[in-house]
Symmetry: C2
Subunit: 661 residues, 2 copies
């Protein structure tokens, strides 16, 4: 053990073992200031880090003019990047995965459109045009584009606040298209203005809570179809839906319940199989279409629609009609439409980007968040002019796409073509499809959004994040979908601000046998050096915390002085602040140092700064009165050097005092 200590650090080997570090003769290194840059350069740098952290223009550097044009086109249309190298092998994989997701997209499209209170066919329209647009503009290879449950729910419930989809279906449809237009415009602007980081404010905890809450709300809505209730509440909350269900028990239809239950069990079992064995992805992928076909045949031959089982009814045949003449940019509902566009836009964007990033990380390629936003945004703007409502990359369908071996965005094209064929020729077949099977499909799809293991993981790792999760969850269930989300985001940001207001300060001690200083609370072996109080401040010092830090440092000093009285060790001579973790200061931060120094001087204690980063050095230098803070004997590169240098000077002083006596 002794030997190890000796070996630890060189210099004078015969050091005092009580204060192993402080006796080591050490070379003192200078704290340097970074090279001077003008304010303009700094601003440029700051703006670049804020808006272009991924440096998208990197590839253009040092290329010829022609090459730059080509790269530019490829940048805007990623299809030009991978298109030329496309081959038959890739096509085979893409056809298989494209047909697989089409068999999911058709029943889900119809179901989600009903969830948004829109005509079922709009769901199919939305699975035709947007995937084609995305195939040209998008950079993810796995994203399966189409309507999704949560955005459908949000749009349906928000628009229903002002317009009834049953009493005024045309106006409702117009508002839905207009909201989609604004959602797309908003998404594309976020990408274009490089403000994509806004969606980062939806933390993991927020999203898990929100998704779970939304899944429950969506599932509750399906009870209308699954129980066969005709007079169902128009509200979304848990309380009104439950009371509506139990006040209308007379309307429950046993035929509907029986048939719905069977299909629900079938779908859940197939889902379970595919989760257990990902190779059998086609079991759950094919089940919805099979259920639709089966249930339609049953209804058709048993004439069950006359026995209380409600069916979709007649659907029009043909491709998307144009809808730009249905966009409303004025009138009394413009506020609602803007709000709906904003919220569904940001939520569907979050899902799309998260899905894209997840699969890109799995296959080890990069998706550019801001470019994806432009692609999704343009897709929705185009969609809104061709009778589509809001679409994005759906998580469940993208997972199936990935498992089915999709290689490029061509799988989206295959899916779109399949949907086109359906729209052109197969629409009459859906006439007798019962609503209950759509309900069962939605419930099966959204149940995967309730991620209990992830919630448990959050509970284990971070209790505060779990509180955020609960707020989002209960907010969505009991208040409303959008307010629950806002609540959770608000709390997350509040926590962040609070963290800035109350940064950590920890006391450092010397790890015996080294010149390393670490948190005494974390490292049990770390010892204090008598006469020294060594603190590490772990946040930028700004207006929001300079007063707190002042109080907190003074409390550390009081603690030291009280301990001093009881343990009778030497007087406090130096307060050393380790500034390695202080990444920035503002003018209040500069004042903090000046005032602290003044207060300490009155107590006869010296303030020593260790390892300030470039920005902090610069600002302290610029603040004239703080110059004293940056004297060589108040400024060191490491805590070890500071302690060793000051400790020896202390001994010189005390020994010379001894001589005088």
């Amino acid at each position: 053990m002794e030997g190890m200590l000796e070996e630890g650090m060189g210099g004078s080997q015969h050091h005092d073992h009580n204060n192993p570090c402080v006796e080591i003769a050490m070379e003192i290194h200078k704290v340097e200031t970074p090279p001077k840059r003008s304010s303009l350069q700094k601003l440029k740098n700051r703006l670049k880090e804020t808006f272009f952290p991924d440096d998208p223009l990197r590839q253009f550097k040092g290329q010829s003019c022609k090459q730059k044009w080509l790269l530019g086109f490829q940048y805007i249309f990623p299809i030009l990047q991978w298109g030329p190298h496309y081959n038959l092998n890739l096509l085979k994989s893409d056809v298989v995965s494209g047909l697989t997701i089409a068999s999911l997209a058709i029943p889900q499209g119809i179901s989600y459109a009903k969830l948004a209170n829109l005509p079922p066919i709009v769901g199919l329209y939305s699975s035709f045009v947007p995937p084609l647009v995305y195939a040209v503009l998008g950079s993810s290879r796995d994203l399966a584009v189409g309507p999704v449950s949560i955005a459908s729910l949000l749009m349906g419930s928000m628009l229903r606040q002002e317009v009834s989809p049953t009493l005024d279906p045309i106006l409702f449809l117009q508002l839905a298209f207009t909201s989609t237009f604004f959602a797309g415009l908003f998404q594309a602007s976020l990408g274009f203005l490089r403000l994509g980081f806004i969606i980062d404010f939806l933390s993991k905890a927020t999203l898990i809570g929100f998704m779970a809450g939304a899944a429950i709300i969506v599932s509750l809505q399906q009870l209308k179809a699954l129980l066969g209730i005709t007079h169902f509440t128009k509200e979304m909350g848990l309380v009104p839906v439950m009371s509506s269900i139990f006040h209308n028990t007379k309307e429950w239809s046993w035929q509907t319940i029986l048939m719905g239950f069977c299909f629900l069990v079938f779908l859940l079992v197939t889902r379970h199989i595919s989760i257990k064995k990902p190779k059998l992805f086609w079991v759950s992928a094919g089940a919805p279409l099979l259920s639709v076909v089966l249930s339609t045949i049953i209804v058709f031959f048993s004439k069950a629609q006359d026995h209380g089982i409600s069916v979709i009814g007649k659907l029009e045949q043909g491709l998307n009609p144009p809808s730009w003449n249905m966009l409303h940019f004025h009138g009394s509902h413009i506020g609602l439409v803007l709000k709906t566009g904003l919220i569904t836009g940001i939520i569907s964007l979050t899902e799309g980007i998260a899905v894209g990033r997840t699969f890109a990380a799995l296959k080890n390629y990069q998706v550019d968040g801001n470019k994806e936003m432009i692609a999704i945004g343009v897709m929705n703007v185009v969609g809104s002019t061709t009778s589509c409502y809001v679409t994005t990359g759906a998580f469940s369908r993208s997972a199936v796409n990935h498992n089915a071996g999709a290689k490029t965005a061509v799988s989206n094209i295959i899916m779109a073509v399949t949907v086109m064929v359906t729209l052109l020729f197969l629409m009459p077949l859906f006439r007798y499809t019962p609503n209950l099977v759509l309900g069962a499909i939605i419930v099966t799809a959204v149940i995967g959004l309730i991620d209990i293991p992830a919630a448990y993981q959050i509970w284990k790792v971070d209790k505060f994040d779990f509180v955020v999760l609960l707020c989002a969850f209960f907010g969505v269930i009991f208040i409303s979908v959008q307010e629950g989300l806002a609540l959770a985001v608000g709390i997350s940001i509040f926590k962040m601000v609070l963290q800035m207001t109350r940064p950590k300060t920890v006391m450092l001690g010397n790890i015996p046998g080294t010149d390393i200083f670490r948190n005494k609370h974390q490292y049990k072996d770390a010892v204090s050096i008598p006469g020294f109080l060594i603190l590490s401040i772990q946040a930028p010092i700004s207006f929001a915390n300079s007063n707190y830090l002042n109080e907190r440092v003074l409390r550390w000093i009081q603690d030291y002085e009280e301990e001093e009285e009881t343990k009778r060790h030497s007087d406090l001579r130096f307060v050393i602040l380790d500034l390695a973790a202080v990444s920035a200061i503002d003018t209040n931060g500069v004042t903090f140092f000046q005032e602290l120094r003044r207060v300490l001087e009155k107590k006869g204690v010296e303030l020593v700064l260790v390892n300030p980063v470039g920005e902090v050095m610069e600002k302290l230098q610029k603040a004239g009165g703080a110059n004293d803070l940056l004297q060589p004997n108040n400024l060191y590169l490491t805590v070890g050097e500071a302690v060793s240098s000051l400790y020896s000077s202390m001994k010189v002083v005390s020994s010379s005092q001894g001589n005088e006596l």
Copy 2:
């Protein structure tokens, strides 16, 4: 030079000078986890740091029960602390300073009440009761309590939005008292709930800009009295006031302008003398009262009130009438009253606390911010029931108090007694006091709020803070007092959030001859170690920045790889993240590490963590899947140890590979 390098660090002295650090045989120290604490303990600790950073109950520890009661009473009524030791010497100082600030308080009280559109006598009432309350409850020895310019301006301008002080003076007065009541209630609640840190959000830059803007707005309002205009605009902004002045040139009265100009020059000269020679504080302290007396005598004998010089007029005699029956807690103006109370409350609180802290620091005693808030709040609640409007510790008067040698809050009592004598016997004397002299007194008082040297200092130190300052300044001048303030606070918080979203990552290099690693940009000598990319992340990793950090780290790696191609040095083998400055992580932060590790693994690069703080260690441990991150060969105490250990293992691998070939 060679010698210095050799001396730097011990161990094996014969190291390779190209990579001075990495060859040093080093002892490897373990990264420890802090002792386990339950979530409840952590929560308790967090709450304590948030609400009781100053540990106010510290003095009660280990005292007898009787002693605790005594200390408790002394805590609530600081007068019990210093009262028993009060002596004649202290009294002498306090009488001198009390009379000095009274001679300022009387003319300023009348002037500020007019600024708030209230009857002048309310200004005197407000200089009588609140100082007495503060003397009992307050813990500052220098604060001179009474009405202040900015709070008066705010209250007057906000209430005037709904009620005219000329058309409905009684209602206006009632609303002023009710606002004062709410201001006091809000101030006391902030202190009681220990939310005092809310006022920290008014940064130094915000306050300097705001004060300067408000001073200009206040001075512009005085042009009414100084030019003798009768039809003056009711608005506060620069533009309407200037146009009102130049559209009413016919109303300008040369007698008023001449007299006003003389007194203004006189007051400014005396102010200048006192600034140059602080010992002559009584020159500027006595000048306002002298001006009032002189101007009153001139008007009385020259009958100037008949020649276009407006005078205060008749004032009632007698002490404060009760006003609790004038408080309105319902009715149509309740929203306005609450808003006014909130804003004037927070602004006057900020001034009072800042003044208290400034003088406490000068005389080296402590004021407890939250206790002061309760004192100021109670003072305003009591004031609102005794015909006083909002009061606080005024900066200019407190400075005079301090210079005049005030020792305790008794100087406030002396001032209050002097004001009482004035109210009882001297009120008729003010009948002929011209309004112009009040205007001159206000202009002289507020001109000190324009602190150009401080603004220049901010410009020098922090350009962004200067932008905040300008926003506050121009917001106040061109939009409105409260919106200018809100704008500046909003921008400050936005900057803070942006800083969290885009934390700094810097590349570290080895300082030759040591095992110290520092920012390569700041330390020109620092050298990279081939095969290693060493980054320091300088902020807590949270949902707001985990995506950015991921992108940023990957960009560092790309940069390394590009450099590799051109400079042909060795392949990237290790990415070392120095986590010393990562003071906290949340669940998104845990995911960041897991994902980064996965991406790096695919590139054949190892992720190494250095010096995680306790909380980060704990969370990474709890997140099961992250366990691999905390293997001994992926986790080191210092960058030096990590590099030296990994470098030697690298050499072992390459040499054994060499043997195999």
